[in-house]
Symmetry: C2
Subunit: 294 residues, 2 copies
């Protein structure tokens, strides 16, 4: 059974596409350099301050209880080891019971990877590689199918609004619908705006829930939402890890569903923004070509 | 300037596509439940053991140095606070110097998000949301353009091999090439296999480097490579964080380039596997339709 590859793969790429790719590489590199400079200048002083505070606290504790600093450090090494297995100073929920493992598996296939739970056994690590390979691929397909569906839905919505506004109803409208919307397409800006509002609404809703249940401020909850929805998943804030959350099934389910909805919407948003970026790149290339008389 | 949306958005989706989507949802849910059960049974005993070990160590330390357990816990709370700012018991490199911030920014735009470094200042957190929004979108575009290029390149490679093997050279070959490879398309299985071998080679190469530089075993390095390349990024292993790495520019650059190459190849691999999964779903739907006489 030799199936042909479904993707279109033209052998002669238009050189504009390739130029677009190289321009994007350069711009991303510059964007990263600029970002590094800004974040470095923002966060470095806080890091130095945190270092000093911690060193002082460690010294004070060592003096107060008359313990060798080396002994304390060895305790902290052990703590680090325990942390890898998911143990925290603040007593949290069990991580590898079934709901915990389900949450973990969700962070794997969505590639969020908070890292509060990560396999510590050798078998678990080996299994993770194979499990993730299939799971992440399936999720990419899921996201892409979701994206298609969202774009279709939004196109229809915008089309209906457009028709109602222009009063262009009846035969023409139906004809366009029957033709598979070929003649009328919504602007990418409209779709992006709607998706942006959708992400914002989901994030605001989720943040209200998290700020009530996790003891975070509303701003922290919004930050968590962005970090989770974009699948970056630093793990500095992780929802549903407190001891009392073990018994609140409703919250755990709501948490998973909100996360799913948020990740799907954000993935779609990123994709529509990437279309806008591509248009911008093409515009820049045209301008460059015009400037240098290409 | 009202640009039309570039994506194709048919208003009448074939119901097979929608069925495919729902089937995928069900299968992913089952896959996650199965995964949760397996990982829970694998990791739960290790978690309990790690808990006991840590409780014993804490108790022993408290007895040995005659300190109240509550005092020790308060130290650990402070340590947790310091950890959020990137401070570790084992002295590591500065996190927010320029190369560190660049590494951080890389983990944001690629959505790896190891979380060793995460912004702790309020301004940093707010900035991250906007920075990530644009950065992640640009990277998605980058990955998609890379994917197109890789598929084209592999298609040409396979085509040349195919032509050489069948001796079908000269005019026909050139004609197919000029027609933009429309008539001849490589099998998705061939492309997937090549990408799989490519990811494996990059991972093995990177793992040799990491096991030499990070003090991890080769197996741990391979596990790290998978976790990083798939952009899951748990943060249980993070490359380039040791104190001596601050001075090894060559290693830091190699680390970034390997990560970039690995992530790009793995993204392409996931996408080709997702095409195979879609074929599998369609086959399942046909079988189901046949079984129930649809
Ligand atoms: K992560
Ligand atoms: K991630």
């Amino acid at each position: 059974m030799k199936k042909k590859f479904l993707c279109c793969c033209p052998s002669l790429i238009p050189s504009r596409e390739t130029a677009c790719f190289y321009l994007l590489c350069v711009l991303i590199a510059l964007y990263m350099l600029a970002g590094a400079a800004i974040f470095s200048s923002l966060e470095r002083p806080a890091e130095v301050k945190a270092h000093q505070l911690w060193e002082r606290r460690l010294r004070d504790f060592s003096h107060e209880h008359n313990i060798n600093c080396k002994d304390l450090k060895s305790l902290l090494f052990h703590y680090e080891e325990a942390r890898t297995a998911g143990i925290r100073a603040e007593r949290g929920r069990a991580l590898w019971d079934f709901p915990g493992a389900f949450y973990f598996v969700g962070t794997v296939v969505s590639t969020i990877g908070f890292g509060v739970t990560a396999p510590i056994t050798g078998t678990g690590k080996v299994l993770l590689v194979f499990y993730g390979l299939l799971g992440c691929s399936a999720t990419i397909l899921f996201f892409n199918l979701f994206l298609e569906r969202v774009i279709t839905l939004l196109s229809l919505m915008i089309f209906w609004c457009h028709r109602r506004r222009t009063g262009n109803s009846g035969l023409l409208g139906r004809a366009i619908e029957d033709n598979g919307n070929e003649e009328w397409k919504p602007s990418v800006y409209q779709v992006t705006l709607i998706l942006f509002v959708a992400v914002l609404l989901v994030a605001c809703g989720a943040a209200s829930l998290y700020s009530a249940m996790e003891g975070w401020t509303y701003a922290e909850s919004l930050y968590f939402c962005f970090v989770a929805f974009s699948t970056v998943g630093f793990g500095d804030f992780v929802s549903g890890q407190r001891e009392n959350h073990e018994d609140t099934w409703a919250y755990q389910v709501a948490n998973c569903l909100l996360m799913l909805l948020g990740v799907c919407c954000t993935y779609s948003l990123f994709n529509t923004i990437s279309v806008i970026i591509k248009q911008g790149l093409n515009w820049m290339l045209r301008t460059l070509a015009w400037m240098f008389g290409g």
